[in-house]
């Protein structure tokens, strides 16, 4: 597969698509600050609550 020109072209095409998406900032459904804040809060609440309840 590595020596196959068609395959190398295909890899380049796929890389170019991602470079284009990245350059235009068009990644869909990216994790934002709200997502990271929400997952941090969820983790902390569960850890603290269950620590006090069960430990």
């Amino acid at each position: 597969m590595e020596n196959d020109t068609a395959w190398q072209n295909e890899l380049a095409r796929r890389a170019r698509i991602y470079e284009d998406i990245e350059a235009r900032g068009r990644f869909e459904g990216t994790m934002g600050a709200l997502d990271y804040a929400a997952v941090t809060a969820l983790t902390l609440v569960l850890v603290v609550a269950f620590w006090f309840w069960g430990a």
Partner: protein, 487 residues
């Protein structure tokens, strides 16, 4: 003349379609990044897939093992705390980049460990872990079949006997057949088995609660606590669950690359992996403590009676196969990426079969492995927690969430991920530091620990130490040497 031209155009279009299909299949197997339009799974489909992976009988097994250390109240707390922390850190390290770029996890790992270093990590983290889990799950399948045959015949089960071995070998071979047919067949299996497993767990929970009130269950003691110090027993239980959470590291990245975007790759882990695993473990814990037996293939028949017991065991046996299919698929996708050209030249079905040979051997010659599985699980956390720490630091803090698909998939010998002969000494050193910190804080074999273990666990210091070493040394040495294309 017109017919000739039309025929020629048709042949060209067909050839293009065939080539596009070939490329897409290769991308699906991990040879290239999947484009957003090619990804199979939305939020709920990935949640089902994750649930099917997590809710397997290994959740019952881990829950039963927790019951050895602590009673149900402390056990439930340990299950929630250990799993949420382990799953979140693991998902951050693996699924965010796979979900964003559709990149195969071990190809992405070239940016952290070098193209040869990622091979070393693959062998350490995936080959050993997956082969071990395939063997354990197959043995559990075998024990379920043996248990239900004994139940049907009114005889005593023989958990290490020939029937168990034959059934376990059969489970591995059927799993091979399913995975050889590609991810679509796994998707079908997940969509059917996962919701049914949730129903089974609810039924089991109902049966347990119909014999004991929740208050009675919470007040029950541990089956076999190793220490007099209750806090130490609790932290060991948390550590086992952290290990369970981190043990998803080799798998969820390659499942997440099949999802449509980064959010869809991340959040279903909280619902599917954490939620389903916690539910399964809690059912396993309550049943183990209530019935005084940590092996699910035994307590299921005790609690449910012969008829429901047979149905439950049969179902759980096949649910095990779903998990086996998921981990086998993700492992082989990785193997094709880290393997040499000669490994990649082997057909998909053949390489799957070759991978199954060691689990087959373990099932036949070492069936006792099943009983010590949780020691094996905790050992894996020494590696997986350090890998998670390095992954988070590298992707989020050193690379600003940007990966170069061209360099990751192009020729590696002279590329930016060559590092030092294909190995990133910084990443590998950080990994070694993480593992050493883990074993120094807590020895999984003897359960001996430092005083700090009671306050910090072992997985978290290992994760932090590996991440910190990787960050500091990369900042100090990598950029000056032109290693790794760090910004």
């Amino acid at each position: 003349m017109t017919d000739h031209i039309a025929h020629g155009t048709l042949v060209t279009i067909e050839a293009e379609h065939e080539e596009a299909a070939r490329h897409r299949a290769a991308a699906e197997r991990g040879d290239a990044p999947l484009l957003p339009s090619e990804r199979l799974w939305g939020f709920w489909e990935f949640t089902y897939a994750n649930s099917a992976l997590a809710i397997a009988t290994w959740a019952f097994l881990i829950g039963g093992a927790i019951g050895l250390f602590v009673g149900p109240k402390e056990g439930i707390a340990a299950i929630v705390i250990g799993n949420i922390v382990g799953v979140v850190l693991t998902a951050l390290a693996t699924t965010t980049m796979s979900g964003r770029y559709g990149v195969e996890q071990f190809v992405a790992l070239r940016s952290q460990f070098g193209y040869n270093g990622s091979r070393v990590v693959y062998v350490l983290a995936v080959v050993v872990l997956t082969m071990g889990w395939l063997a354990v799950l197959a043995m559990m399948f075998g024990r379920s079949i043996d248990g239900l045959m004994a139940l049907s015949a009114g005889e005593a089960a023989n958990p290490t006997g020939i029937k168990m071995i034959i059934a376990a070998v059969g489970a591995i071979l059927v799993t091979w057949f399913i995975v050889a047919r590609g991810p679509t067949s796994i998707k079908f299996f997940n969509m059917v088995v996962s919701p049914a497993l949730v129903i089974l767990m609810v039924v089991m929970l109902y049966l347990i609660l119909s014999h004991h009130s929740f208050g009675e269950l919470l007040a029950m003691p541990a089956l076999s606590p190793p220490f007099e110090d209750k806090t130490l027993n609790f932290i060991v239980a948390v550590e086992v669950n952290l290990a369970a959470g981190f043990s998803w590291w080799p798998y969820i990245g390659n499942l997440a690359r099949l999802t449509k975007n980064e959010r869809t790759a991340f959040w279903p882990n909280i619902l599917g992996i954490f939620g389903a695993a916690a539910l399964g473990e809690i059912v396993g814990l309550l049943a183990a403590v209530a019935l005084g037996e940590s092996d699910p293939t035994i307590w299921m028949t005790k609690i449910a009676g012969p008829v429901i017991g047979i149905i439950a065991l049969l179902f759980v046996a096949f649910a095990n196969m779903t998990s086996m299919a998921n981990i086998l698929y993700t492992s082989i996708v990785g193997l094709r990426q880290v393997g040499t050209a000669s490994v990649r030249a082997i057909s998909w079905g053949t390489v799957l079969f070759l991978f199954c040979l060691i689990p087959l051997g373990l099932v036949v010659v070492y069936p006792q492995m099943y009983d010590g599985f949780f020691i094996f699980l905790v050992w894996t956390s020494a590696l997986n927690s350090a890998l998670a720490g390095i992954g988070i630091v590298d992707y989020f803090f050193l690379r600003g969430q940007k990966l170069d698909m061209r360099s990751l998939h192009g020729p590696q010998e002279n590329g930016p991920y060559r590092f030092w002969g294909g190995f990133n000494p910084i990443g590998l050193f950080a990994l070694a530091v993480g593992c050493i910190v883990y074993v120094a804080v807590f020895n999984p074999q003897t359960l001996a620990s430092l005083p700090a273990f009671k306050y910090l666990t072992a997985s978290l210091p290992a994760c932090v130490a590996a991440g910190a070493v990787h960050y500091v040394l990369t900042r100090l040495f990598a950029r000056g040497r032109g290693w790794g294309q760090y910004p």
